[in-house]
C-alpha cells in the first residue's frame, strides 16, 4: 500500500480552514460531556432547573471548569475550541431565546446588525477564506 493516503491526511486538511473547527473525533471526545449537558436542555424540566440556577445545574455534569465557565459566559468560540458542537450548543442559546443569527454573529466579532446586513448583502465571500496555507 505504498503512497497510501489515509484518515490522517483527510483530517489534516480540516485544520487549514480559517475560522472553522470541523467536528472531528478529537473534538467530539474533548467535548463529550459538554455536548451531553447541552443536549439535556431539550427536556423542559431540565431547562427550568438550568434557568433557575445555571451554576448548580452545570456543576452536576462531569465537564472541565473551563468548559463550565465558557458556557456560563456564552463564549461560543471558546466552546468550539473546547469541543462543543454548534447543534448541541444550539440547545443553550435556544433556551436563552436567541436565534441562530443572534448566537452565531457573536462568534464573528461583528455586531448582530452588521452581521445581518452582511447576510442580506449576499453573505461572507469565500475569497481569501478557503485556506490558511494557500491564502485563497
Amino acid at each position: 500500500m505504498a503512497g497510501h493516503s489515509d484518515i490522517h491526511e483527510y483530517l489534516a486538511d480540516f485544520e487549514d480552514i480559517p475560522g472553522t473547527r470541523v467536528y472531528t473525533a478529537a473534538r467530539a471526545r474533548k467535548g463529550y460531556h459538554l455536548n451531553q449537558f447541552a443536549m439535556s436542555l431539550m427536556k423542559p424540566e431540565n431547562r427550568q432547573r438550568w434557568l433557575a440556577d445555571e451554576r448548580a445545574y452545570i456543576n452536576e455534569w462531569p465537564m472541565t471548569q473551563e468548559q463550565r465557565e465558557a458556557v456560563l459566559a456564552r463564549d461560543y468560540n471558546r466552546l468550539l475550541d473546547l469541543g462543543g458542537n454548534i447543534y448541541f450548543l444550539a440547545k443553550v442559546f435556544s433556551t436563552d431565546g436567541l436565534s441562530f443569527v443572534q448566537a452565531v454573529s457573536t462568534m464573528t466579532g461583528m455586531s448582530v446588525e452588521d452581521y445581518q446586513a452582511m447576510m442580506v448583502a449576499g453573505g461572507r465571500s469565500p475569497e481569501g477564506q478557503r485556506s490558511i496555507k494557500g491564502d485563497s
Partner: protein, 302 residues
Amino acid sequence: MAKITAGVASSHVPLLGVASDQGKDRDDYFGPIFAGYDWTREWIAKPENKPDVVILVYNDHASAFDMSIIPTFAIGCGERYAPADEGWGPRKVPDVEGHPDLAWHIAQSLILDEFDMTIINEMDVDHGLTVPLTMMYDKPDAWPVKVIPLAVNVVTYPPPSGNRCWSLGEAIARAVNSFGEDLNVQIWGTGGMSHQLQGQRAGLINAEWDNMFLDKLIGDTQDLRHVPHIEYLRETGSEGIEMVMWLIMRGALGKSTKCLHRHYHVPCSNTAIGHIVLEPVDGSVPPSPTLEGNNDAAQAAI
C-alpha cells in the same frame, strides 16, 4: 409496482419553520423565499404528481441522537414520529406518519445490497425533517403523505462520502422498484446550501458554487459523486456538507434527470436557500453488485 417519480431538494433552515408557525411567511424577509416554493406546492397537489410516500433524507441536529450513538445511515421503519423539542418546545405541526411496509422492504433490501443500515423504530424528528414538509405542504391539519425518514450523519466527521451517498440512492431505487404495491414515491434531499454556523468565518455564502451544484444535479453527469468533503467545507462553509444528502436523492433518480423547477435565494438566517424539483428521464440504475442479494450473475457466483 412502486416507482420513484420525482426528486425534490430543499434547504431545511429552522427559521423557515418559525416563520411559517408564526405566520411571517409572506413578509418582506421571508416572502421571496416562500414564493420560490409556490410552484412546487401547486405541482405536488396535482393528483398525477401527489406522492403516496416520501423518502425524506435529512440529518438529525442533536435531537434524536446524542453523542452516545451516531449512526451513519438510519432508516425509520416505525409507525409514526413526533416533532422533537429542540430547546423551545416542539413545533406545533402534525405528527409524521411512517410507511413501515415500504420502509422495512427498503431497509432489508439495502442490507442485502451491502449498505450497513441502522434500523430505527422509535424517534422524534427535528426541523431537518419537518421544515421541508412545511415548505412543500404549508400548514395542513395532517401531512398529506407518508414519510420514511432517512437520517444521515453529517455532524460528526467523517460523514459518508458523496460517492457512498449516490450509491445509496441507486440502491434505494432498486429497492423501491422491487416493492409489489403500486405507490408513487418521491425522494427528497434536504439541508444545505452554503452556510457556516460557527467561528469567525460564519455567514459564508458561495452562490457560484451552489449554482454549479444545482446545475450538476441535472442531466447525466455524475461529477458530484467525486466532490471530496474538504471542497464542501472550503467552498460552502462548515454546514454546507449537508449537500451530500442531496446526492442520495440524485442517485435514486437514475441515469439522467430533467429540471422542473429551481429556486435560489440568499439569505435565510445564516444560509443560502436552494430548492430544485427533478424528474427522472432515464431512471435506470446499475444492478446490485452484491453476492447475497440481487442479480443472476451474483447468484450464479454463489
